[in-house]
Amino acid sequence: MVFEPSLSTDNTSDAPASPLVSCCSQVQIKHKGDRLLLVLPQEGETNLELPWSEVWQELKHLLKRREQSWQPETSVCLVAGDRLVDTRQLQTIAKTLREVELKLTTVSTGRKQTAVAAATAGYSVEQNNRANLSPFISHGQPNSTESLAEPLYLQQTVRSGVEIRHAGTIIVCGDLNPGGVIIAAGDIFVWGRLRGVAHAGARGNRKSRIMALQMEFTQLRIASTVARSPQNLPHSLEPEVAFISNQGISLARANDFTKTRLFSPSEDSWVRTNN
């Protein structure tokens, strides 16, 4: 058997009341053909509607981070769904998009008022009822094995006060600072120091892993399992992987992980290989 310095962290059973935050309760940007879709959070996904000011802040953050991933003057379709967007908010979105050389051309909405506001402002309107939105929005269901969104690639350190949610895997080229939170339906890679809170497999996938060059987390969550930072444990200077073993969340050296661990569907956790 291969020696593996796997250390089980301090697992707490008191998982937070709603760890499986819907991955769709935030602004998303997706490529579709030669245009971009800007998907606003949907009312139905979470019980509470995200206030406009936060939607806008999130949008601005998102655009700043993703600036490099499109051609200038790409046209954007705003997928508002059942969310009400008034004339002023449309103007704000258009202005924010213009600042990063994107062009709002189309508004897709299920609400008549929004459609009217958009048409009045001179945008093309696609009126949709909710069912038609499904190609744009993946409806999160705990434990579902549905396909994930394309990975979200962040080129910046995630700083205190920032919470990033994504319906797929998240890759951070930078640190995750204390006070920062990353929630992914898939895996989480931090090419830097992980010092904040990371939640992988947020829709219930126990196979999800969290990897970091330096694991100095405040808290890790995978599916509905939670691990707090062990108190007096020296931090490893090597890249590590966090995963669900039969003892809860464990850490292993990244170098050894793929050689020594295998996901066992029957045990619903990562087990040691026998070579």
Partner: protein, 265 residues
């Protein structure tokens, strides 16, 4: 080209106003024209620290309301040529100022000065957004405490989202003794976490409080004191000069450090 710099921190009481006034004075001694803007509406005290309180007639609010011209509201410092203050209103609600209005006056002010330094209020609400509205660069102030550093990190993220990417860091109230005893975060720890470039370290020093109470910037009254040298060095670094960082890690007993301080600082 003038530079518009906002001094901000997130957390309150870490030394933004102290740094704005002393740094402004230090830059003025380098024969630069400096305008300090108090953006802490309702809780102004930059005028107090500069000893200019009794000379305030109009404020930024009066300029915004069109009740006076910008030039009328500026208070000139008698001791330092080229240093002026645009005071904030004390009585009016800060909710009545909008970022766009702040941007307009600060941009207008920039025409006549080499440096515009804006003293931001604590927090990340409207007052903060007003203070950063016109800024091209920022000086983040923190003390070596976890809560202050956490807030500084948050503010850096907000500044980056607003497109203010030139960000320098000042670590204030550093106590070398405590760092040596590992009771305080070191400056290196702070830089490592925040990932922005360091422009100055200011020791915790009672002269700072003495100067505050007198309404007299340190570079005027205590020119040769350690904190005054620290401010002077920051001013030079802003001017693009390479000035080694002060080493106040060990006490005065260490001759080598004292020499290093004399020549390097």
């Amino acid at each position: 080209m003038s530079r518009i710099i906002v001094v901000t921190s997130g957390k309150g009481g870490v030394g933004k106003t102290t740094i704005t006034s002393n740094l402004g004075a230090a830059i003025a001694t380098l024969n630069r024209k400096v305008a300090l803007v108090d953006a802490d509406f309702g809780l102004r005290n930059l005028d107090l620290l500069l000893g200019l309180e009794e000379r305030v007639v109009y404020t930024a609010m009066d300029v915004i309301a069109g009740e006076c011209r910008l030039a009328q509201a500026l208070v000139k410092d008698k001791r330092l040529n080229g240093l002026v203050l645009l005071p904030a209103a004390q009585n009016r609600s800060k909710e009545s100022v909008e970022p766009e209005q702040m941007k307009t006056i600060i941009t207008a002010l920039a025409k006549g000065y080499d440096y515009i330094i804006v003293d931001s209020p604590a927090g990340i609400e409207l007052g903060f957004r007003n203070a950063i509205a016109a800024a091209q660069e920022a000086i983040i102030v923190t003390t070596p405490e976890i809560a202050a550093v956490r807030d500084a990190d948050r503010v850096i993220g907000l500044l980056e989202a607003e497109g203010v990417n030139k960000i320098n860091l000042i670590v204030n109230r550093v106590k070398p003794q405590m760092i040596e005893e590992k009771k305080m975060m070191s400056v290196e720890d702070v830089i490592e976490l925040l990932g922005v470039s360091l422009i100055g370290v200011i020791p915790d020093n009672e002269l700072v409080i003495v100067a505050t109470n007198k309404g007299e910037p340190l570079v005027v009254g205590h020119k040769d004191s350690l904190p005054a040298i620290a401010f002077h060095n920051i001013a030079q670094r802003l001017e693009g000069e390479k000035v080694p960082f002060l080493d106040f890690t060990s006490g005065d007993s260490n001759i080598l450090n004292r020499l290093r301080r004399m020549f390097g600082g």
